[in-house]
Amino acid sequence: MRPEDYDMNVEIAWCPGCGNFSILRALKMALADLDILPERLVLVSGIGQAGKLPQYLKCNHFNGLHGRSLPAAVAIKATNPQLTVIDVSGDGCMYGEGGNHLIHNIRRNPDITTIVHGNMVYGLTKGQASPTSQPGFRTPVQVQGVFEEPFNPLAVAVALGATFVARAFSGDVERTRDILVEAISHHGYALVDIFQPCVTFNRVNTFQWFREHTYYTDHDPADRLLALEKSLEGYGGGRFPLGVIYRVEGERTFEENLSVYHGDATPLWRRSHDPDKLKRLIESKRMV
């Protein structure tokens, strides 16, 4: 496949210069590299500017509710494990509204990928703080500046044992593509947090700022303690590491643990209905 094979002939409603454009481009390149057919691919999203991404990519898409993309995504995969399921979300959608689902889907380890557009601000609702906004960030709502600790998705994911945890920077399309290729081909749950500047509502964390505050790490991602250490970097000073932070292979996925798929990969909707089995169940309710 070529990246253009995923093109949609629609107007894109992101601000000119938005970091989302490069995420879209990197994703198309990754999908083309992996040769994933549009009709076998499902993009699932919630609400926000990131949530619109599936509109701009030729594939199946389920754009649901704010913060609720993961429950839908895990169920789509559990209904038909033959589909490639990618969940696209923003930092508010995934870490704010959807935080509980993130925690529990890491526990489930479904074979899906979550891509979070992290711009440290709420863009769709015009400029409030997000769970990842940096301390001191002033908005019309956070008038004294943010004083809460930013949410650290990578540390949470590593601590919970997510099987693939990575961070990318949308200013670097090639490397973002590489990370996405690894994430999508990973067997198990993959979380990719992508730094993505909001050119309209975040004048602090700009392309330049992210360039200055990140670096590519080359540590051994299989080392969980080291991964945890890496995931803590950048908070309260220093630079944020980019690349694969943590990866563990060979863990059973959610779908593999479901009894219906033991020895039979047929999607649920293709399974036939057996009235005789049901008759036996009813007969088992005869007491004597």
Partner: protein, 512 residues
């Protein structure tokens, strides 16, 4: 009681030569296994033969050494089986039949437990001989019931869900919907279903929508408070025209209310749940005999019209057990899934508002659904003309749905009628039968949308009253919206079901 162990609990068993299926206040024989038992029965012990454990000296009661015998057999845990043995003997159940019942009940707990319970049951049976010296109960055995199965309301619904092709269930535990979650989960491996306990109610219903989008018939079960959390996703189901079956085991609210009691208070919640306007159907089985068929129908209806369909049950129906002939399971579920093609449009405008429903991975097209207003392809639009047509398309299906309803059941041929819905079926019917009054019953197992001829039917009675387990008279209000105002409303909202005596008293005082 909403506690795990301890406290006072009672089980009401009715024994008769003819079928009895409803709750009555009257207690003829009470086996009191704790000192607080009589008091717990709250005034229902009148002219009652009390059989009490000899450890506590209940005045006027027949004393039996139930606890003492249970302890000799290994612990107080056997007291229930000892008492059951005594009761079985008293009611003329043959000892072999009773043994068989004990075996089938404890089989899955292993041979040691079965043996111990059989011993306890036999001991109880012996004690029953003593009881027979005090009183004689003569119940004519009905051999035909050997052919019957014994179900509770939850199992009856659960069987219907499987019959309706349910393939996916995710839920968060909440009384009294949890038993349905247990039922589906126990049968998931055998019937190719996925059951997942979600992290919360919001996840549960969003998972169901994801599963349904991908082609699996899906079910979510909860109670009022839990459902309140799901409302946003009900709107999503409406917007993306994705079928889902929502089982609400009602209990008294608001908020967490009385967790282990019963009510019919969530009709309005189901009726109005979700932002915006879109069609839905609300079914409320009244009896175990037709609950399987109604539950199966819910899945077919959801699939055919691509809408959320509610199954309203309640604690009373969910936990009620009785024997009945094996439910007949209807034909194969009818599926409405289309293979997609290049250029397939999920929300294509059609004459009846129903677009061919494709699912991802089946065919060469792509299936795009969006919670924002969208065009035929599922792409976000702000075109106001498309918006208007989409609203019409979504709501058009309600008109078709009105022609595809479950008709109310009319019992009797009188000029006055008791109108009821859901779990009150047998309560009302037995009250009418036992009072001998010239009153009919009109029972609705589909409460929304109502059949076209509802108004005509109800207006054919001179005098009517609506019986329901809530304070407002929610169904009576719904009928009023349809243009019918009943003369009376008989309501109970203390957390208990109606009793046969209560409804009979209402008939005599008000309706006659």
């Amino acid at each position: 009681m909403s506690r795990v162990r301890g406290g006072e609990n009672s089980t009401l068993i009715r024994v008769s030569s003819t079928p009895v299926r409803a709750f009555i206040e009257r207690v003829d024989v009470l086996f009191a296994l704790s000192p607080g038992a009589v008091e717990h029965m709250d005034g229902r012990v009148k002219d009652t033969l009390v059989i009490a454990d000899e450890e506590f000296h209940e005045e006027g009661a027949i004393s039996l050494p139930i606890m003492g015998e249970a302890e000799k057999l290994g612990g107080r845990i056997f007291a229930n089986v000892v008492a059951a043995g005594a009761a079985a003997n008293l009611f003329g159940v043959r000892e072999e039949t009773f043994d068989e019942a004990v075996r089938s009940l404890f089989e899955r707990k292993g041979p040691d437990i079965v043996e111990a319970d059989l011993r306890a049951g036999r001991k109880g049976y012996e004690l029953g001989d003593e009881l027979r010296e005090h009183l004689e109960i003569s119940i004519e055995p009905q051999p035909s019931v050997r052919e019957h199965v014994v179900l509770n309301g939850t199992e009856a619904v659960g069987i219907g869900c499987i019959a309706g092709g349910c393939r996916f269930m995710s839920s968060y535990p909440m009384t009294p919907s949890t038993p349905l979650q247990v039922f589906i989960s126990e049968n998931a491996a055998e019937f190719d279903m996925v059951f997942e306990q979600a992290e919360d109610e919001i996840a549960a219903i969003n998972m169901c929508l994801g599963a349904s989008y991908a082609g699996a018939r899906s079910l979510v079960a909860t109670s009022g408070s839990g459902f309140a959390l799901m409302e946003e996703a009900v709107g999503l189901a409406g917007m993306i025209e994705t079928p889902v079956v929502i089982y609400i085991g009602q209990r008294p609210g608001p908020a967490v209310g009385l967790p282990t009691r019963t009510a019919q208070e969530d009709l309005n919640l189901a009726l109005y749940a979700g932002p915006g306007e879109f069609p839905r159907a609300i079914l409320a089985p009244g009896k175990l005999e037709d609950a399987p068929e109604i539950a199966a129908h819910a899945f077919n209806l959801a699939d055919r019209y691509q809408i959320p369909v509610f199954l309203l049950s309640d604690q009373y129906l969910a936990d009620l057990y009785y024997d009945l002939p094996s439910p007949q399971i209807g034909e194969e579920p009818s599926y409405h899934i289309t293979r997609t093609w290049e250029g397939y449009r999920r929300f294509e405008f059609t004459a009846d508002g129903i677009s061919p429903r494709g699912i991802p991975g089946y065919g060469s097209g792509t299936v795009r659904v969006d919670s924002d207003e969208h065009d035929e392809e599922g792409l976000i639009t702000e075109d106001l003309d498309v918006r208007r047509r989409m609203v019409e398309k979504r709501n058009l299906r309600l008109e078709m749905l009105k022609d595809d309803t479950l008709k109310p059941e009319v019992y009797g041929d009188n000029s006055s009628a008791l109108i009821c819905w859901g779990s009150t079926y047998w309560l009302v019917r037995e009250a009418i039968e036992s009072s001998g009054a010239d009153v009919s019953m009109v029972h609705f197992s589909q409460v929304y949308p109502l059949p076209h001829d509802t108004l005509e039917l109800l207006e054919s009675f001179d005098r009517t009253a609506v019986v329901e387990n809530n304070y407002r008279g929610q169904f009576a209000d719904l009928l009023k919206l349809e243009g019918f105002e009943a003369d009376e409303r008989f309501r109970r909202y203390d957390g208990m079901p109606f009793s046969v005596e209560g409804v009979a008293g209402f008939i005599e005082e008000v309706l006659l």
